[in-house]
């Protein structure tokens, strides 16, 4: 029977991680399913987890006063999301809403923190992988800010 650690090891985010580290991370993981339209997390709430999206689509939204929700980005099968658990003030910056039926793996933030502090090598490896995701999102956000499809100025 395939273990959760082995399944995680095949995902691009965890690919190449040491088996003993995958075992520890798998112990922080639980299945998390969300129906269409369900809120996964809300801006301002405690960022107590991160998610690996196995199946379905998720919208990250920003709600501005006097305006409706604005979709910042949509996430799709295979993506990992939620890094507010890594940095102070450990609060979600955006809302996350399931656009379809969503099947995900939820990683408990307290469990990950404990694992990181107990094994700095695991902590470094995990942080290195999250930084790559954060940089990718930041570059994408910069491209969006450039408004490259707008009329030439």
């Amino acid at each position: 029977m395939t273990t959760l650690a082995e399944i995680l090891g095949t995902h691009p985010f965890f690919f190449g991680m040491r088996p003993e580290h995958l075992d520890i991370i798998a112990r922080c993981a639980t299945p998390a399913d969300f129906g269409t339209g369900k809120t996964i997390f809300t801006a301002g709430d405690e960022a107590d987890a991160c998610y690996l999206l196995l199946d379905g689509d998720v919208a990250l939204e920003l709600v501005a006063p006097g305006q409706g929700p604005h979709v910042i980005e949509t996430l799709h099968s295979g993506e990992i999301f939620g890094w507010s658990w890594l940095v102070e003030p450990y609060r979600w910056m955006f809302d996350a809403q399931a656009l379809t039926e969503v099947r995900a793996i939820r990683f408990d933030a307290k469990c990950l923190w404990a694992a990181k502090e107990a094994d700095p090598q695991l902590g470094f490896d995990l942080l290195r992988r999250f930084v790559a995701v954060i940089v990718d999102r930041m570059q994408a956000a910069r491209m969006q800010l450039m408004d490259i499809y707008g009329a030439p100025r």
Partner: protein, 282 residues
């Protein structure tokens, strides 16, 4: 100076032919697609080529061809109003006359992609110059392996060729992924940059030909993403835009390093053009 014939241009390359406007279709608030009737009954071109379009008394601009290359009875071009001439073109009505020179320039290497996976990445109005390629690929769909069309626009209201997108999406032999940079909750499609779609497209990087068209920044990031996925730079093609005027490499306005975009481009291999894009202009 070499005679025009040696430059691969017809002797009439500098003299416009007068085409009549058959139909003007609004695409976006500032963008239309116009169907033009050639004076001699037929107009042939290769996907990726452009024409010099002139409005009498106002001026002339380069416009890429957006129509199906198999439909030779009509020249179809998509124009966005950004200057005096393009604004005049957008304001044309059925029956009006416009001057047309061309077609000019290099074309997308569609035949080279036969037997391979095809990834088409378009951003904004960049879907227009690449539409003939999509038509050409679909006309002989069996000759290609997997085909993916990845399209990014500014917002849901800025998506070009929405009827085509719906038709292409309905096919089972195409992967069509669309994203916008910004949207409200009413939009049920993807939100994010077009380069991220490359990660979701099915293709074998070692046997893929990529066609990328859009703003230069978007093409650069798309090419880098494709190369990160394993597609060699020589198999990535992009379409450049510069100040094309004569269309035959004589006037020098579109010189880009050692090349003339009107004659050696607009379609280039990424491996050829990337070093020139890295040169900082002062």
């Amino acid at each position: 100076m070499a005679p025009l014939a040696e430059l691969g241009s017809s002797p009439q390359a500098m003299a416009p032919a007068w085409f009549s406007v058959r139909r003007v279709r609004p695409e976006l608030a500032d963008t239309v697609t116009i169907d033009l009737v050639p004076p001699r009954g037929a107009f042939t071109f290769a996907p990726g080529q452009f024409t010099m379009l002139s409005v009498f008394g106002i001026g002339e601009i380069p416009i890429s061809i957006s129509g199906d290359p198999a439909e030779t009875a009509t020249l179809t071009q998509t124009v966005r109003a950004v200057g005096a001439v393009s604004t005049a073109v957008v304001g044309l009505r059925a029956g009006d006359l416009v001057g047309v020179r061309g077609p000019f320039g290099s074309s997308w290497p569609v035949t080279h992609a036969r037997g391979r996976d095809v990834v088409i990445v378009a951003g904004g109005i960049g879907l227009a110059p690449i539409r003939p390629t999509i038509c050409a690929v679909l006309a002989e769909r069996d000759r290609f392996n997997r085909v993916a069309i990845l399209y990014g626009a500014r917002s849901p209201n800025d998506l070009l060729f929405t009827d085509d997108l719906a038709t292409w999406r309905a096919r089972f032999d195409l992967e069509v992924l669309v994203t916008v940079d910004s949207a409200g909750r009413g939009w049920h499609g993807g939100v994010g940059v077009v380069t991220k779609l490359i990660d979701r497209a099915p293709f074998d990087p070692a046997r893929t030909t990529a066609f990328v068209c859009g703003p230069e920044v978007m093409m650069r990031f798309s090419a880098e993403r494709l190369m990160t996925a394993g597609v060699p730079a020589r198999d990535i093609n992009v379409s450049m835009e510069r100040n094309m005027q004569c269309g035959i490499g004589l006037c020098g306005h579109c010189q880009f390093g050692p090349t003339f975009v009107c004659k050696d481009g607009p379609v280039y291999r990424w491996s050829d053009i990337a070093p020139l894009l890295a040169v900082r202009e002062t």
